[in-house]
């Protein structure tokens, strides 16, 4: 019997790898110096640790360490990249392009730019979650300054073709930002080859600490940004604030481990995910959300039709998962990501995201499959929609009294 509850929400956050935590601890106590202190060994040691971590982060994504700017996380990186570039290059044009399935950390800065007089095109993905590159190309205008397309989607795990999108952008003189919060350690990233100008990272999705992230800012050709945080001029003026040495050291160690282990780790995780899907897809009316091929191995997002997501999560409370159901938020709107794929409301309300990680075992997956079989059946016995479905009634033909 596995220890309960079982954590299957690695896309929300990951535990810090114990090897990473061990490396971080001395930087909280004896190695506490300010990396900006130039006049003594406390500062020099801290600075050295920060620069080593910068190399480790750069190592995972194959860029120059000088292109890495520390931030507090992917939210801040997205804000700095999008608002910073738009404000710096606004003389060239005021149009930006993004996708409806982006994280709020991209969509909200875009909304803010609209309030500041910029214009934003929000592209719909195809039903499999992927962007149609012809539609993307068609959206580019002479006044387009920046496009932002995430690498891996946080809800459905699909991988966008950032290589081709980068080529298109470079060909048209459009800056390209990629939110890679969900892809480090999961999908390979080679910034020497990719035509990406700005890329956001977060430590806590890759077994590092929360509250630390980085923004890759290309130097050749050089990308300029308007700072969003003004102060002592740290990080070459792009992001002021005393560097959080222990967090940075943690992010470096976490990304180094990811680089070393991702190939073997991902194979193991893919095997577990496929086992989970094989186990649940034998149930009737279970629908996979997002493309299965162009997808990270960690993610399974499925809709259990005619069962509401929150009640299912309540039934499977021994599994820590998340749902696209409206009931998990204060609003009554189900997941905007699933809606953007064209999923109907019922399927969006019935979705569960399982995200598997470093510490998931085969036993955990077996247990999860068993639990799902038991409770999906029980909840369907309670569901009037299931009865109607079995009686052959098309739910779309019913006049519902919306409330």
């Amino acid at each position: 019997m596995p220890t309960l509850p079982i954590y299957l929400d690695y896309s929300a956050t990951t535990p810090i790898d114990p090897r990473v935590a061990e490396i971080m601890i001395p930087y909280l106590t004896e190695k506490f110096g300010n990396p900006a202190s130039r006049s003594h060994a406390f500062g020099w040691d801290a600075d050295q640790a920060v620069e080593r971590a910068r190399e480790e982060v750069a190592g995972l994504v194959n860029c120059d360490p000088k292109e890495i700017v520390w931030t507090s996380g992917a939210t801040e990186s997205d804000n700095l990249a999008i608002k910073g570039a738009a404000q710096f290059y606004k003389g060239k044009g005021k149009h930006l392009i993004t996708v409806r399935t982006e994280h709020k950390a991209v969509l909200d800065p875009m909304r803010e730019l609209e309030r500041q007089g910029f214009e934003v095109t929000y592209l719909d993905p195809e039903p499999n979650g992927l962007l149609d590159l012809d539609k993307f190309t068609a959206a580019i205008r002479p006044d387009t300054i920046l496009a932002s397309v995430m690498h891996v989607n946080n809800e459905i795990g699909v991988i966008q073709d950032i290589e081709t999108i980068g080529e298109i952008c470079r060909g048209k003189g459009v800056l390209f930002h990629v939110d890679a919060a969900q892809s480090t350690g999961k999908a390979p990233i080679d910034l020497a080859r990719l035509k990406v100008d700005l890329m956001s990272f977060s430590a806590h999705k890759t077994y590092g600490p929360k509250g630390i992230g980085a923004l890759y800012v290309r130097r050749k050709p050089r990308i300029r940004l308007e700072a969003q945080m003004h102060g002592g001029g740290h990080e070459r003026g792009m992001r002021s604030g005393t560097l959080a040495t222990h967090q940075i050291v943690g992010m470096g160690a976490a990304f180094r481990i990811a680089a070393e282990e991702m190939a073997t780790e991902n194979e193991r995780i893919r095997m577990l995910r496929d086992k989970l899907w094989a186990g649940v897809s034998t149930l009737d009316e279970v629908h996979l959300n997002g493309d299965m091929q162009q997808r990270v191995p960690h993610n399974l997002n499925a809709s259990f039709n005619f069962v509401e997501g929150e009640s299912l999560m309540m039934a499977i409370k021994d599994l820590a998962v998340s749902s696209g159901s409206a009931c998990t938020s204060a609003s009554l709107e189900p997941s905007y990501v699933l809606k953007a794929l064209g999923r109907n409301d019922e399927l969006a309300h019935s979705s569960i995201r399982f995200s598997i990680g470093r510490f998931t075992t085969e036993q955990d997956i077996d247990f999860a499959v068993q639990l799902l079989h038991k409770h999906v059946g029980k909840l369907r016995d309670l569901s009037p929609l299931w009865d109607m479905h079995r009686a052959g009634i098309d739910l779309n033909s019913v006049q519902w009294a919306a409330h």
Binding site: E308, S311, A326, N344, D345, H349, P384, L385
Partner: protein, 140 residues
């Protein structure tokens, strides 16, 4: 979100799950909500000759609070007259189950389900009597 003990109890041991014969003249069926909103409740009541609700059944698609609200309502309407059942207010349901503000709509839906089931029952009886009247040659 954390649930009250009463919500958990009704969710784990729902009362009166199932269906009554919808075509039976003594049965009133109410179906409220919409899949698009994340909850649909079906409540059925069986009314005896004395005008008392003697049985109630439900099926609900929705969150735990929606399931608990409908389960609770099946217990509450039993033994009541139609007018007494109609007097059950969502605030009483919400209070009994200690629903948080974001779940108040579940109790409103349960109240609506009672109204819809009673209306269906009353409708049937008007239609039935109208039907007899229409077929009564003496009335023509």
């Amino acid at each position: 979100m954390s649930y009250s003990d009463k919500v958990l109890d009704h969710y784990e041991n729902p009362r009166n799950v199932g269906a009554l014969e919808a075509n039976d003249a003594s049965v009133g069926t109410g179906m409220v909500g919409a899949p698009a909103c994340g909850d649909v409740m079906k409540l059925q009541i069986k009314v005896n000759d004395a005008g008392i609700i003697e049985e109630a059944r439900f099926k609900t698609y929705g969150c735990g609070s929606a399931i608990a609200s409908s389960s609770l309502v099946t217990e509450w309407v039993k033994g009541k007259t139609l007018d007494q059942a109609l007097a059950i207010k969502n605030t009483a349901i919400a209070e009994e189950l200690a629903l948080p503000p974001v779940k108040i709509h579940c109790s409103i839906l349960a109240e609506d389900a009672i109204k819809a089931a009673v209306a269906d029952y009353r409708n049937k009886h008007e239609v039935v009597s109208a039907g007899y009247a229409a077929c009564d040659p003496a009335a023509a």
